[in-house]
């Protein structure tokens, strides 16, 4: 293939789309295609198409977990991007539960975190950071030096060697260091790819819309209050 895949994950409102815009500005719109996965509503694709004139797609996951949905469609999306001659596919996740990670072996994994999200935030989204290549810390202009360093320390606790890029993504400060990393990505070998990490236990009866509370009503991954761990009740 000729497509380089960049997976952009991170919690809602961290500034993922602002980072995407800076990447497009730096790469040049002619080379980029964009895919947004979200649950019920997203406008990023329309916004980016209007601003940069790039080809975009979006997928709503509805009842399904959005990262699950992303994993399902990413192979088709790579074929689509290749077909329209894009050199880069920017794939932006919905960023909700922070447990799943959309990074694949063939992608550059970016975890976008907001510097104003609190000291414990990196620990709460540990898998999403631990499996990423770069932690992009946004809104850096809103915090003081000591806070920045303490926030970095939180990221380092999760991933001691991760590359950290601090940016005011609206202006694009510090993005030059992210672009240095992006320049080195190699195209995906084929549309076949595998995830870097093991996702949390699969789709259950709640994911597909069953509303009853209590483990007694469900199959799949269940858990009574007193149990030390999750159980699987199959059928």
């Amino acid at each position: 293939m000729n497509v380089r895949l960049i997976a952009i994950a991170g919690p809602p409102s961290a500034g993922k789309t602002a980072v995407v815009k800076q990447i497009i500005r730096n790469l040049g719109a002619a080379k980029v295609a964009y895919l947004k996965i979200d649950v019920v509503q997203a406008w990023e694709d329309e916004e980016l198409a209007a601003e940069f004139g790039i080809p975009t797609k979006k997928v709503y996951s509805g009842d399904m977990c959005p990262d699950h949905m992303g994993i399902m469609v990413i192979r088709d999306a790579l074929v689509w991007a290749e077909g329209i001659g894009a050199e880069y596919l920017l794939y932006e996740s919905a960023g909700l539960c922070l447990r799943c990670t959309p990074y694949t072996r063939n992608s550059l994994g970016l975890c976008v975190l907001s510097a104003v999200s609190g000291t414990h935030a990196p620990l709460k989204m540990a898998p999403m950071i631990a499996l990423a290549d770069v932690a992009v810390v946004t809104k850096i202009d809103l915090v003081s030096q000591a806070e920045k360093e303490v926030f970095r320390e939180g990221i380092r606790q999760v991933a001691p060697d991760i590359d950290i890029v601090e940016t005011n993504a609206v202006q694009g400060t510090g993005m030059r260091y992210l672009m240095q990393v992006i320049e080195k990505i190699r195209p995906a070998e084929s549309e076949r790819d595998t995830l870097r990490g093991v996702p949390p236990l699969g789709v259950c009866t709640i994911c597909i819309g069953k509303k009853e509370t209590g483990w007694q009503e469900h199959f799949g991954v269940i858990r009574p209050l007193a149990a030390p761990d999750n159980l699987y009740r199959g059928e």
Binding site: V116, T119, V143, Q145, A146, E147, V150, T173, G174
Partner: protein
């Protein structure tokens, strides 16, 4: 480099005004012990200027300025590794985000800098208490500190933990901290201090004034003797205002005014 030598010069190279014209200076060099204020109306680009310094802008901010360190483009690790960065900025927004106590926050900062000596925590809290009238105790939560307390703590942190040669302060006067004491201590420690300020007292206490207009540097003033008298009078007025502020804070009605 800051680690081996305390002498770091920072040079600001001009960018462009909002209309895209070149800025009105050739370069501004900042040296240890310098005191500089940045003045100008709201929206004139004061905060953008210190932000450029803080992030070591390289034509990648809206102002298109560039920053040199010791006369050359700064090496990447100096820009990206906070432990090597010679600058600490204390922002205007001090809604501190840390869900930690003062003690835990400072301990985490020490750990991030691989510093072993815990006694710095006590020294930092003690120093911060010299800058503010509202006492900071290390068991307080960071999120419960007032703007003045947070700023005082961050200044003390910048002096003792970050220990950077250059400190940037964005509108320190808004927090009601003892600004002359801050300036005295930073001068004593040979720090370069740059204030974004609307406060005449802070502006006159500094040796150099950068005047901003329309997003750009309009002028650089280095007043000498001609402001000595003004400074003495403003110091007086400021001291009077401080007294009044304290009286109002403590709930008095100002039936008498012992103003000189």
């Amino acid at each position: 480099m800051p680690d081996s030598s305390p002498i770091v010069t920072l040079t600001i190279l001009p960018g462009t005004t909002r209309e895209g014209k070149p800025e009105n200076f050739t370069e501004i060099t900042i040296r240890p012990g310098d005191t500089i204020s940045i003045v100008g109306p709201t929206g004139s680009g004061k905060t953008a200027l210190i932000n450029d310094i803080e992030v070591f802008a390289w034509g990648d901010t809206i102002t298109r300025r560039k920053i040199l360190v010791n006369g050359v483009p700064p090496p990447e690790d100096l820009v990206r590794d906070p432990a090597k960065k010679p600058i600490a900025m204390i922002t205007q927004n001090t809604k501190c985000l840390a869900d930690l106590t003062v003690q835990e926050f400072l301990a985490m900062h020490l750990r991030s800098r691989k510093m072993k000596d815990d006694s710095v925590i006590t020294s930092a809290v003690d120093l911060a208490n010299q800058f503010t009238g509202e006492k900071i105790v290390s068991s307080m939560r960071m999120s419960s500190l007032s703007g003045g307390q947070t700023r005082s703590l961050f200044i003390a942190d910048a002096v003792l933990i970050s220990d950077t040669p250059i400190i940037l302060l964005d509108e320190v006067e808004n927090a009601g901290i003892f600004k002359d004491r801050v300036i005295d201590i930073l001068r004593e420690k040979k720090k370069a201090i740059i204030f974004v300020t609307h406060d005449p007292y802070v502006a006159l206490l500094t040796k150099k004034r950068i005047v901003m207009k329309c997003g750009a540097v309009e002028n650089i003033l280095t007043p000498k003797d001609e402001e000595t008298e003004a400074l003495a009078r403003i110091a007086h007025m400021d001291a009077d205002l401080m007294k009044l502020r304290e009286r109002i804070r403590s709930g008095e009605i100002l039936a008498t005014l012992e103003v000189a």
